[in-house]
Symmetry: C2
Amino acid sequence: MYTWDMESILHNSNWLKRIALQFITEKDFEKIERTSVNLKFKKNEIILKQGNKPTHIAFMQSGVVKFNYENELNKNIILSLVAAPKILGGANLFYKDNNLFSIIAVEDCEIILIDSNVLLDLLRNNGKFAVALFQVASDMFKKSILNFISLANKQKEGRIADIILYLSENVYHSNSFNLSLTRKELAEFACCSPENVIMTLSKWQTEKIIDMSKKHFEIINIEKLKHISKIG
Amino acid sequence: MYTWDMESILHNSNWLKRIALQFITEKDFEKIERTSVNLKFKKNEIILKQGNKPTHIAFMQSGVVKFNYENELNKNIILSLVAAPKILGGANLFYKDNNLFSIIAVEDCEIILIDSNVLLDLLRNNGKFAVALFQVASDMFKKSILNFISLANKQKEGRIADIILYLSENVYHSNSFNLSLTRKELAEFACCSPENVIMTLSKWQTEKIIDMSKKHFEIINIEKLKHISKIG
DNA sequence: CGCGAGCTTGACGTTGTTCAACTAGAGTGG
DNA sequence: CCACTCTAGTTGAACAACGTCAAGCTCGCG
């Protein structure tokens, strides 16, 4: 949620330029480049902080980030985990309130920070570009709703299965991956206790649905996992 | 969520025309009028159906609707409840998939159905109008996230308190209202069993936090209710 | 070698769901 | 006008799901 997935449009390192130039002129793009900065973030560094004013949009060129909400009692919830390339913090472009949640690096990231007002001006003068961004934003919105629904009517096992499948399909793009989240973070993502995550995963290990050792995960029986996700 | 609240901009019966004319010409507005239809829906009638193609945007002039998601096992979840005036189904304008959920009348409604493509063309040629709609859409998105977070880290009582407060503040605009939802629907909204809703409400009745008889609700001690919402 | 953070496991208590029984009111047909 | 039925609402008890706690483990690092 809250991200724009540009993968269907572009794949190389210069993807930001390529998509922008479908809608805006070279001159306008140079204006974006002049007012933006390139930054590198290490694991656990905060890219956009909950409660801050949303003055910038972040284009993520490489890496993985989590969207983290912290409540009054310092309890965290991970709203989503996303891999590059994506546009982060898009909704804040238009919504005037402070950031609802933090965006934190889970793996090292390369980020381009762009001034919100510069991009906003561009969109106001270019309906096609605005509608295109709106369309990817709607897609992200749909994922958010699906997440919400999963949380609402599934039990722990269904939710944990959803997360493993999500990570495999949308973040690591493989049935075999090195997970950069701790068990506690997995629990914050599935909205349950770390113990529950561990119990479920080791149960699946003995049932040969997954295979894991330390940080390495492999989905062995994806049909069974999807079935667990479905029945909740 | 998923609605555009135009109340801050306009209040009379001709509100659709008034907002549109801030951004588009009379001629364009006539095109919208020509391609749209006015309909009345009675309680429990389906306005937009889950799974259908999103061919229209619905402008709700009067009434109250629920956003209803039905899963494979015929279990319903109410994602949101909203009162006129609102624009319904906005995200579907841009997202090409089928409707994620149904929009169903909870009270009698007057609805204007507008052809998606006509509105989309207009937005492509008018960045300012597109950005304005995007901004209200972002606001609705924020509410969706807050809903999600409430569900994720609060227990039943906190969630039910959230719903009563939401209904009072955002739907009925009063501490005293006639609820058009059944207890079962309240449960579908709070994601718990009807028994749990009833137990909680009657407990609050004896504690003089609310007063209810049949469909009539009145919040007596709003501070206590907000406290319950806060501590979860 | 020892410390600490993250991981794992099992026992236990709390929370929430399910089930079953009962009540009240609305609608129907004799 | 009175059974009859159907639905919504209500209550309590049994049961299952989940979180919390406490203890032990593993591994990396000083």
